[in-house]
Symmetry: C2
Subunit: 242 residues, 2 copies
């Protein structure tokens, strides 16, 4: 097991050496796994009030009118789910992906297992690293956020959200895995829906949480590699059998 840890580390070393001078987002394949280099975006503004309102009606698959957008007259319309920007866009759930790609230039990756390589981990909080992941017929949003919950003590929070309804999200399990320096940390959970809010997931701490010291142990030259895998939940099949 530790042998694979070292191999994985060596591959990442090579990847990092090759790409550390690139600033653009780049996607390539290494050792059969799709690796995506994700550059940080400094978050200028958070809008927690948007989320508080959203939370209550997320189960119905709609978002209510909110403070940061014009009133949503059509209940099928969804405000922009990208947590980076206070974006005035709103639209149907089906076109959220194309909006995130086109307006916010968020990359989308295909494949059951990918590696998310977040660069420049040393940048001050608040900072986000975001990518979309297309898998099992759905699109997911991976958010890594550096944030100071306690002043002067930044932490890293990573979560995965389905670009779909909470009911659809319940059908999946996502896994985030860090693997370096003979240490391995794995987080597995059901993704949340983007109709819920990434801010509230992070403030609840219901995600992979890393202290700065752990983040440094898992980082290589300021870059953090997170292995991502998405599977279909077995729980529904198992319940059906009972």
């Amino acid at each position: 097991m530790l042998f694979f840890t070292q191999c994985f580390g060596a591959v990442l070393d090579l990847i990092h050496l090759r790409f550390q001078h690139y600033k653009a987002k780049r996607v390539f394949s290494a050792a059969g796994q799709l690796v995506c280099v994700v550059n940080p975006t400094h978050s200028l503004k958070y809008a927690p009030t948007r989320c508080a309102a959203a939370q209550s009606s997320a189960e119905q698959g709609i978002l209510p009118p909110c403070h940061h957008h014009e009133a949503v007259h059509d209940p099928q319309l969804v405000p922009c789910t990208c947590p980076l920007f206070s974006c005035p866009w709103e639209g149907h759930l089906e076109v959220v992906v194309s909006h995130l790609r086109q307006t916010h230039r968020i990359n989308i990756l295909q494949g059951a297992e990918i590696v998310f390589l977040a660069t420049d981990m040393h940048l001050p909080a608040p900072t986000d690293w975001i990518i979309m992941h297309s898998c099992l017929g759905h699109q997911f949003l991976l958010v890594l956020r550096k944030q100071e919950k306690y002043e002067g003590h930044p932490q890293f929070f990573a979560t995965m959200m389905l670009i779909g309804t909470p009911t659809q999200a319940d059908n999946f399990t996502y896994r985030l895995e860090l693997n370096r320096n003979q240490r391995r940390l794995k987080w597995e959970a059901t993704p949340r829906s983007v109709l819920e809010c990434v801010d509230s997931v992070i403030s609840d701490g219901d995600c992979l949480v890393l202290n700065t010291s752990l983040a440094q142990l898992f980082s290589d030259n300021g870059s953090l590699a997170i292995g991502i895998a998405i599977t279909t939940s077995k729980v529904h099949n198992a319940e059906a059998e009972m």
Copy 2:
């Protein structure tokens, strides 16, 4: 996978119902796994200065004279490694286990895989939960500590240490696993030697770290179940083959 998560949760529910009114440490077997109920001990005093001195010479397998103990004239003598008490005992590494059992009444469990069930997680920091684990011909010390690194924000730190030298510790890998509410968190690392210091491992954050919110998600009625497994590291065999 989530099916097993739920089964595991159901087993723990039964365990908890059966044992929540017991206050003594109890060991029993459930679903083929040895489960040990570990009660907390409030830590009255930490002695970080002991550790700072110990750290530098831990590689040589000895501990230097230190502030909290009489000077160690025999370099083979080891001060009490139990992190709970500032204990004046010192002795050879071979008799540390019997000292911990007899003087500090720390339980010892046999078996490759055990479940550590820490009770009363709500108690204020600093609090420790400690057990010894006998496995693969060696004894390990599992320490779960609730501590406030940032005032008013207690965190939980869990680590495993070999009652042996750092060179011996390099031969093993330990895994700590939390599994509840459709979430799973796994930490894998090489154990540290008790000749190094649990305080420094925790202050470095080189262990499983849980915020209060995550600890609550994984707890059941105030008890946290941690699955523990120890294996022999494959890295040495792999290196020998090269």
